[in-house]
Every structure is written in structure tokens, then in C-alpha cells.
């Protein structure tokens, strides 16, 4: 908690936030600092990490749920803060990547209970997000309990939709059979 509040090193703070989230409910004393980060518009990356940590510590916190819904309401996470000039950002890294959006989607999947608003966001990401967001939303929807028939229907539609374009590969693409999984790749080389 002291690290999150006082440390000047960005990455140390980043790791401390993630660690607090991994601790879960016993890290409740850190809630004020994390909620403070959530509203800090000059630290977008850390606010996303804080949201991730908060859903691990207190998944029923409505403030986190509304933060995630708002952050995902625009095409890019950083656009939420577009009223701030880039010079005002205190962080050393870009926070506009796809990966950030995937973190937010996964965090939204951990919110309890799922409300019609949060489900609508997840369905929208599954249907209209860029393909990484669609895939992340599919993973999140598959892990929700209880699952509604609407969720299953949306996933079935996504499966039908995803089969539009296919290219031949010879014979198994590297991403399906990486060397750390496939013993034959250790001795016979990768499928290119």
C-alpha cells in the first residue's frame, strides 16, 4: 500500500497494484488508494491496473463496474480521457493499445453480479470489437456463472460469423503447434 501511494517508480507501482489484486479480499485496506487511482485521469495505465486489482479484492464494488462500463463505452480506452492533452500523461508508455482493452474486458468479466449494463458491454465487444476484443469477450462469457441462453446464442452467432474467411496452411500453423507444446517440433523444426 505504501508503494502504491508513495513510490516514484512507475513499474514498481504497477507491480504493487497487480500484487494487491492477486491477494484478493484480504487486501481490503488498500481499497482507498486503488479507488483514488481509478479516478486519476493522468494515470490511465495504472487506473486500468487498479480496476483489475479492485475486481479481485471487491468484485461487488459498483464504482469499478461503472468505471469499466464507461472505459469500454468508447472505441479506445484512452479516448475516455481525450480531454487531457498527451503532455499531461505522467506515464512512460502508451495506454492506447488493444491489450489495454482486453484487460478491461477481462476485468469486467470478474465483476459480480453481472448487470444488464455489463452484459450489454460484453455482447457489444463480442459482436463489434476488433478481433482480439471479440476473442477476449468470448473467453469471458464462457466463464460466467450462471450462463443464460442469450449468452449461448451470442456465442453461437459469433462462431457462425467467424468462419467467413479461411486460408490454407501447410499443414499445421506455428501458432497451433508451438515448439514448447509439440515434441516433434523439438527435433524436426517448426511448421512454417
Amino acid at each position: 500500500m505504501r508503494v502504491v501511494e508513495h513510490d516514484q517508480d512507475f513499474w514498481v507501482v504497477n507491480e504493487a497494484i497487480v500484487a494487491l489484486g492477486a491477494i484478493g479480499p484480504p487486501a481490503q485496506p488498500a481499497l482507498p488508494q486503488l479507488l483514488n487511482l481509478l479516478t486519476n485521469q493522468s494515470k490511465v495505465w495504472l487506473s486500468h491496473r487498479a480496476a483489475w486489482a479492485l475486481v479481485g479484492i471487491d468484485p461487488k464494488n459498483s464504482m469499478v463496474a461503472s468505471f469499466l462500463v464507461n472505459a469500454l463505452a468508447v472505441p479506445w480506452a484512452r479516448s475516455t480521457y481525450e480531454n487531457i492533452s498527451p503532455a499531461d500523461f505522467e506515464e512512460p508508455i502508451s495506454t492506447a493499445g488493444h491489450y489495454e482493452r482486453w484487460v478491461l474486458i477481462r476485468a469486467l468479466g470478474r465483476v459480480q453480479p453481472q448487470t444488464p449494463e455489463t452484459m450489454a458491454v460484453l455482447y457489444r465487444e463480442l459482436e463489434h470489437g476488433e478481433y482480439g476484443s471479440q476473442a477476449t469477450a468470448a473467453v469471458v462469457l464462457g466463464g460466467l456463472h450462471p450462463v443464460t441462453s442469450e449468452t449461448v446464442t451470442k456465442l453461437i452467432e459469433a462462431l457462425r460469423r467467424s468462419g467467413d474467411e479461411r486460408l490454407p496452411a501447410d499443414p499445421v500453423p506455428a501458432w497451433m503447434s508451438p515448439p514448447w507444446i509439440s515434441p516433434s517440433c523439438w527435433t524436426k523444426g517448426h511448421a512454417k
Binding site: G142, V147, A158, P168, P171, V172, M176, S177, S182, A191
Partner: protein
């Protein structure tokens, strides 16, 4: 020796995967897995998943078979898909089928008898991997004991060594890796 005994289906297949720049890349795989993770509640998806698993040019057919297993158990379609995969001419397809079976058997020990087919594979690497997949299951893999005993006399030293380790685990003499804290 067990090598070269199992007939390999002489079947040439063209494998198609979603184009990596196309809209389906990655999504298809994750949706199939998500449906499997939902389990019996996703029964509506069965016709589509059966279609996926029966398509011999679909590289995700083993994932679809795993999803079907999770939704309604070991149906003939699933068994046929894995049987075809484990007898495929292409070693990477056999490995892919084995990888999915290996994941499945940790959750469902009933999948072990299907996995045993890979222990007759002509390639030592596949046989070795099949035995290695059994080891983390510990005593849950008791159905594999007779087959693993035979592999203690395999031509390949690496398979023999893995078989010895697996037997220890099946007999409860080693702590199953899957249950390690």
C-alpha cells in the same frame, strides 16, 4: 516391440485454418472453448460443434470434440474425431489430437482409454508424449496400467523411462503433478 504395429490411415488431407488477418483468427478457437466451458447449458451449440468436429479439413475439430465432450459426454462423434486424429498420417495432427485429449483427461479421467491409442503410435515422440500425459493423472489413470507396463519394453529409451515414471504415479508412489499445490 510395439513399434510399427498400428496401421496408420493413409489419408491425405488439406488442412484449412482461419486466415490470421481475417476476422475469424483466434475468435473461432476461443468461442468453441467458451462453449465447452459452459458445459451442458450450451446444448444449443451441439449441431454446430458436431459440424465443426466432423470437418476433416478443420484444424479446430479436436477443440470442437472437447467442447462436445464437456457438453454431453463421450459421444460417438467425439470418439470418431479423436480416433481419426490419432491415426492421421501427419504427426502434427496426431500430436494436436493428443494435446487436446491430454487436457481433457485431467478433467475427465474417462478420456484415458481414448488416449491409450496414442501409445501404439509408430513415432516415439508421440508415444513418449502419451505416457507423459498419463503421469500427472496419478491413480486416476489406472486404466492405462497394462498399456504402460508394455511400454516399459519400448524400443525408445525415453519412452521406457517415461513409462517407468508413469507406473510409479499410477500406483500412487509419486505425487501426481496435476494435484501439486
Amino acid at each position: 516391440m510395439l513399434n510399427e504395429k498400428m496401421p496408420v490411415v493413409q489419408e491425405l488431407e488439406t488442412i484449412y485454418v482461419p486466415g490470421k488477418d481475417g476476422p475469424g483468427w483466434g475468435l473461432r478457437l476461443r468461442v468453441i472453448r467458451a462453449l465447452g466451458r459452459i458445459g451442458p447449458a450450451a446444448h444449443q451449440a451441439l449441431p454446430l460443434l458436431v459440424e465443426e468436429s466432423e470437418n476433416r479439413t478443420n484444424i479446430l475439430r479436436f477443440d470442437a470434440a472437447v467442447a462436445i465432450w464437456r457438453i454431453k459426454g463421450p459421444s460417438p462423434v467425439v470418439l470418431a474425431t479423436f480416433d481419426n486424429g490419432l491415426h492421421n498420417l501427419n504427426i502434427q495432427i496426431r500430436e494436436l489430437a493428443l494435446a487436446r485429449l491430454s487436457d481433457l483427461s485431467i478433467e475427465f479421467p474417462e478420456a484415458v482409454p481414448v488416449l491409450l491409442n496414442a501409445m501404439n503410435d509408430p513415432d516415439r515422440l508421440v508415444r513418449w508424449w502419451a505416457v507423459e500425459s498419463i503421469t500427472p493423472l496419478g491413480t486416476n489413470a489406472w486404466l492405462a496400467m497394462a498399456k504402460v507396463r508394455l511400454l516399459e519394453n519400448d524400443a525408445s529409451p525415453m519412452v521406457r523411462f517415461a513409462a517407468t515414471q508413469a507406473l510409479q504415479a499410477i500406483q500412487g508412489n509419486a505425487y501426481p503433478q496435476a494435484l501439486k499445490p
